[in-house]
């Protein structure tokens, strides 16, 4: 309920336009992976999903940031049902992969940002390996590249007042890990797939 209000607010504020270029707007189980430049990114992406997909799509977020304040934590944990993962002190027992795979095995979809943090440059950073491990562990789940256009201008890193630039969310064609594709080859291909959506 609160989440839907946030989504409606974001849609109104940013006039966000969803372009489903490579897949249909439905509730198919997917891992949406996108470029990351602003704290609003997951909200912008989530807000354009159809209602039945929203209910079963959870953003993956950094524990250290979203644990930072009570309201922040409430929003991340309760409102958006974020999957909060450890990115600083990863040990064998708190390996985020187990959490994510458990969510996927429960039939839910994920939103992840494989750059591992927000960038201020226009170029995307190299992707972290998590996406590869997810693709390997869950070979039947579609990996959908998504490019968030202009979201970085709405709330750049270090700013707290948002500007309502018109955003668009471009969804590309689903990828799967190819048989005997190496980790680096796959991550390069995935990053290029997000980049290709930037120009469409």
């Amino acid at each position: 309920m609160i989440a839907e209000l946030f989504a409606a607010g974001v849609r109104l504020f940013t006039g966000v336009q969803a372009r489903w270029l490579g897949c249909a707007p439905d509730a198919t189980q997917r891992i949406y992976f996108a470029n990351h430049t602003s704290n609003l990114d997951f909200l912008v992406l989530w807000s354009v999903l159809p209602a039945n997909a929203q209910r079963k799509t959870r953003p993956v977020a950094a524990m250290d940031y979203w644990r930072g304040g009570r309201i922040r934590f409430y929003l991340a944990d309760h409102v958006f049902r974020g999957v909060l993962i450890e990115r600083k002190k990863v040990t064998r027992s708190n390996n985020p992969m187990h959490q994510l795979i458990a969510v996927l095995e429960g039939g839910e979809s994920l939103i992840i940002f494989p750059e591992g943090g927000r960038t201020t440059e226009t170029e995307m950073r190299p992707f972290k390996s998590g996406l590869y491990h997810l693709g390997k562990a869950m070979p039947n789940v579609d990996l959908v590249p998504v490019y968030l256009d202009n979201a970085n201008r709405v709330l750049p890193k270090g700013e707290f007042l948002p500007i309502p630039f018109l955003c668009s969310v471009n969804f590309g064609s689903p990828l799967r890990l190819l048989p005997d594709e190496s980790k680096d080859a796959f991550l390069t291909r995935a990053r290029a797939a997000v980049g290709a959506m930037a120009k469409s």
């Binding site: 006039g15 336009q17 201008r153 750049p156 700013e159 007042l161 500007i163 630039f165 018109l166």
Partner: protein
């Protein structure tokens, strides 16, 4: 509470627009059934989307008019906000412009319309060209980044002038004191909007029906000489025909309509030049068939201030 209402003249105007739109919708329906070619169907589809959007826009416009001055101020204020949002989305702004843009959208824009709402036309006429103009580069200097400084500040200043200041001249018409016509300035606003928009519509219709020679091929390839001549002369006829709702006689009304149509034409070209430079066709997707808000009001932006000042100089 007094229910919103119109005087008898306004009722005629509302009925007129309603009949016109009804004719347009029926024409669109007939065309949809008769046009067979694929390209023709595409044009008809876009035409019908435009007509449907017109119903909505006209409804909102008359609703605002019916609530008197404040409704028009809010309507145009909101229009300015949306137009400025489209403009800055298209303009390559810099990270260091963030705070200045926030001020432009959330402080300066509402302030301009608040000034018109409280009938402070003296301040409304200089607030953006003087104070906002000074403020924008100062805020950018505080942000401490001098890369492309002049271009960045100028883009924000220009956006404020076109999207906010010029548009605000339309509701500012309600502040004019024309002897013997107290409380009737809504019809002046109607005259401006009707002539500017009908000029656009007729340029489109004449261009689609008879257009052969491009008038500005490097700026706006869809505009033709035939469309321009048909649209502007049509707008002049409509303007002259509406003289009875204005303080003008038929000849003055025709001349005013000519100036509105010409300024509107150049407004459309200027805003097209920006789009073309940025490599896009429309400012947005807000209005189905038309594009963005800015695509619909570009002619009004340029016509409103000139119409306001001519009326103020000669008729108040």
């Amino acid at each position: 509470m007094k229910l919103p209402s119109f005087d008898p003249q306004m009722e005629v105007l509302v009925t007129g627009v309603f009949v016109l739109l009804l004719v347009a919708s029926i024409t669109g329906f007939v065309l949809k059934k008769t046009v067979k070619s694929e390209r023709g169907q595409e044009v008809v589809l876009n035409l019908n989307a435009r007509i449907n959007a017109w119903w909505v826009m006209i409804f909102i416009f008359f609703l605002a008019m019916a609530t008197g001055g404040i409704g028009s101020v809010i309507l145009f204020g909101f229009t300015s906000f949306l137009a400025l949002r489209e403009y800055i989305t298209l303009t390559p702004t810099h990270r260091a412009d963030h705070r200045a843009l926030f001020w432009a959208l959330f402080i300066i824009t509402p302030l301009q319309y608040a000034l018109i709402g409280v009938r402070n036309d003296g301040l409304a006429i200089i607030m953006i060209p003087v104070y906002a103009y000074l403020f924008v580069p100062i805020r950018n200097v505080i942000a401490g980044d001098c890369q492309d400084f002049l271009a960045r500040s100028a883009k924000i200043q220009w956006g404020l002038m076109v999207c906010v200041y010029f548009v605000s001249y339309a509701p500012a018409l309600l502040l004019l004191h024309i002897p013997g016509r107290e409380g009737q300035n809504g019809k002046l606003l109607y005259f401006l909007v009707c002539v500017a928009q009908m000029s656009d519509v007729l340029q489109y219709v004449f261009g689609k029906c008879f257009g052969r020679y491009k008038i500005a091929p490097t700026i706006s390839p869809n505009k033709t000489i035939e469309g321009f001549v048909g649209g502007v002369s049509g707008a002049v006829v409509i303007g002259a025909g509406l003289y009875w709702i204005t303080p003008f006689n038929p000849w003055q009304a025709a001349l005013m309509a000519l100036i509105i149509a010409l300024m509107g034409f150049y407004g459309g070209l200027v805003m097209s030049a920006i789009k073309r430079d940025r490599g896009v066709k429309d400012y947005g997707v807000t209005i189905p068939g038309h594009g963005g808000i800015m695509d619909r009001i570009d002619s009004l932006c340029f016509a409103a201030p000139v119409f306001f000042h001519l009326t103020r100089y000669f008729f108040t």
